[in-house]
Structure formats: C-alpha cells, structure tokens
Symmetry: C2
Subunit: 241 residues, 2 copies
Amino acid sequence: MSVPVSKQELDSLMQPVVDLWNERKTREGSSDAVFGTLRDAILTRTLVPGPQFAEEDLARTFGVSRTPVREAILRLEAERLIERRGGRRLSVARISPTEILEIYDVRVALDGVAAELAARNATPPQIAQLRWLNNQMISFAEAADFARVSSLSLEFHEHIAEAGGNAFLLSQIRVVHDRVRRFERSTLQQPGRLGTASNEHELLLDAIEAGDVARAAEVARGHMLNAKKIRLGMTEVPPPE
Amino acid sequence: MSVPVSKQELDSLMQPVVDLWNERKTREGSSDAVFGTLRDAILTRTLVPGPQFAEEDLARTFGVSRTPVREAILRLEAERLIERRGGRRLSVARISPTEILEIYDVRVALDGVAAELAARNATPPQIAQLRWLNNQMISFAEAADFARVSSLSLEFHEHIAEAGGNAFLLSQIRVVHDRVRRFERSTLQQPGRLGTASNEHELLLDAIEAGDVARAAEVARGHMLNAKKIRLGMTEVPPPE
DNA sequence: CCGCTCAATACTGTCGACATTGCACACCGT
DNA sequence: ACGGTGTGCAATGTCGACAGTATTGAGCGG
C-alpha cells in the first residue's frame, strides 16, 4: 500500500490528473500549470497520500521536462502538500489524525479574532452576502452535495475574516483552510451536524450584525470547538500512509 | 530609491550576504545554501526591500548557475520573503505598516490558545526553562543587546506553544514569527517596554504554572495587545520601498 | 537460509544553451 | 516637441545532458 507502484499503475492513478492538466496547460506556463494541477488534485483528493513517484514520472505524465516539475514540487513542498520520504521518494503529504485535531485549535483561535473584527467592521452588504452563503450551504446540504457544502463552509469563514478587514489574518486562515480541505467533508456528514452548524452560523451572524464583539467571538469559538468534538467522536482514519 | 541599481552598487550591497554564503556552501547543496543564505540575510535585515535584482545577478554573486538560484527564489516567494515587482524585477518583499499592525491581531489569537494549552499541559521542567529564557532576556536587555532580546522573546513564545503540545499551532506561530523578525526589535526598545514585557511574561508563567487556563489566555492576549499599542504609538516607518 | 558486499541502475542536482517574451530606447511622423 | 511605432536587448522559462549519489538486486560467504 505504501510501497512504490509500477509505471502502469501510476499512469492509471494519474489519469484524472491529466484531465485537470489539459484544461490548464493552454493558458498558463508549464511550471505554473503543473503546480496548479497538482495542487488542485491534492486538495480535491484526486491525488492521495499512498503512491510514491519520481520527478521524471510526473514529467512524462505531463509531457514536459523535469525543470517545471521540479519547480512545482518545490512550491508544493513549501506548502507541505508534498513530502519526501526517505529523502528521495516523493508522495502526497500525509495528514495525521493528531494533526487534524490540532488544526481545530488553531481555527478556534483564528476564527475567534476574525469574528471579533467582523463584529466591529462588517458592512451591511457583507453581512447580507454572508447570510446568502449560509443559505446556499443549506441548499446544497439538502441536495446532499457535501463536497460543495464543505467548500462553502470554508468560504463562509473566509468571508467573515474578509469582513473583519485584516488581510494578514485572512491569508493565515486561507493557509489553514487549504489543509482542512484535505480531510473535512466527513465532519459535516455526521447526522444532525449540518443543521447545528448552520444554526451556529446564524447566531454568529446575528452577533456580528449587532456589533456584539464578545458574543461573536464566543459563538465563533464555540462553533469550532463543536466541530472538533464531532471529529473527536469519529473513528474514521485518514487516508492510508 | 526604488529603481534598479547598478552592478557595482549591487555587489557592495551583497558583500555581507556573500560572507553568510561562504559559511554554508561547503556543507549544503547549492540550492539549499542559496535559499538558506538569502533567508538568513532577509530575516536579519542584512538584505532590505530597496534594491531590485535579477536571477542572473544572484547567480553571479554566488558563483552558481541560475538553476539553484531559481529554486531558492521560488521557495522564498512561497514564504513571501521575496516578491516580483512589475512581473519581472525581484526584490525583498516589503512589509507595510498596515500589515505590521495586522500581524499583532493574529499573534493575539495564536499566543492566546498557546497559553491555554500550556496551562493545561506544561511540565515543571518546561516551565523552568521558560523562566530561564525570560531571565536571559532581562540580562541581554541590560546589555542593551536588543537583537538578541527580540530573538529570545520570540523563542519564549515558541516554547510556550511547544509546552502546549500542539505541533501545528507551533508551526503556524513560527511562520508568523518569521515575519515578525523583520520589523520587531524596535518595539522592545521603547523606554519601559522591556520591563513591562518581562513582568507580563512572569505573570503568564505564574498562570501557566498554576494551571489557570482562563487567566493564562487573558494575560497572553493582554501582553500582545500591549505590544500592539506600543507599535501603534510609534511613528517609525518600515524600511523604504 | 540469512546477511553482507559490490556492481548495475535509477534518480537527483546542477549546468549551459536556446527560444520566447516583455521592456527600453531610439526613430519616425505629425 | 510629443506621441506612437518598431527594433534591439535583456531577462525569463524551458529543455536536454551530465556528473554525482542513493538504491536495488545479484552474487557471495557465513
């Protein structure tokens, strides 16, 4: 499972990635296109942590030389989306169950201030858009489209940070979200969680709209702590090594 | 001031960087050595945001081909330590006064949870080490060695995160600190600030030692908010564009 | 049958070269 | 004298090649 795979196996694993690639390579330079393709593939879990590969494999897959592939990998390594095992073999970075839980604490902190700032600075149109986003989430939830629900949920929180007006905070939240994308989705599928989540979102928006800084922070933190609790109760193991 | 510089000017600007380079190039590969050298140079403000340069300039400076330089730059761009202006010219990334203030809000959040976790999980030896670090800080302060004081202060906060036991949180704090290194130092030089800061550190350690989660969080947040206030009162502008 | 050594192999890190792209400056027309 | 246009140059993005080095597997010895 965690051993190197044959060339044929690798090719079939890469097929969906090649599809993403074909849409990109026309408009972007090779290096950026490879980077973007792999990044998307990893974040959408088209590419998972199991298989190991070499630079040359990717170069052949994409039909480019090793140079742009190397550059893409370097950037992905910097984002901790790809890692080297044993110094030489490349693989999609693994996320440990421990790290998943750890991330929630960071989100508690970050979303907490984001909510505070939003309560201070959000404008009515921004709040309206946030309500709209939350409703969208509910709609997709009814359609059982959890991928989109999860994505909208992250977007919701990013918009709160944006309404707070702190660009650096927003960028940090984005970084964290890009790790979250790789495992969340399952949390929201827990029975009842989604209803609770959108209620909590409503409460948060009310607090923000009222300009109640303390309550906004409290609700935001509580919201994320609840998500963590759900996750704690789940036995699901993350994608294999 | 913000225009490209001549080759001679650039050479003299790079001289201290070359010194850093000579210590590294023996033990590391070219790419890593260039990366590390530039990174150190930027974080220690040996290299500042003003001058603009091209890949080839750096390659000539270090006596390597453009390939390792490109790779180093790519990684530095990912860390937002280097930026491209007008798409083509490279330069050390600038930090805006706005961003400096924004960063404090993120630190309030991050150090807040870090303190909470430390209050829960810190072991006596860890607390002892924290006290030692704080005393070191005071010593260097008396010697007016503000560079070291600033560095120790960051280390102090990183150790608190470490004592909290959340590795992901620690890594995020480190990322933020690597931005802070580029401007802090001046805050602690404000008259009286240092005394207050070390007192606040003591209070924080007391709360952690007592396992008082709420108070630890409160003190930590207050500590960082005070630092922000000092910064707000300062008129100093960051290094020129 | 297992472990060790050594050789063949596969992969990486670095280089110089080339095509392409964007920029600056001079030239031309008004 | 000024704006637009075109040409030349400089810098980037990409490539294939090569040398150095870890890895794998075969053959040998215990």
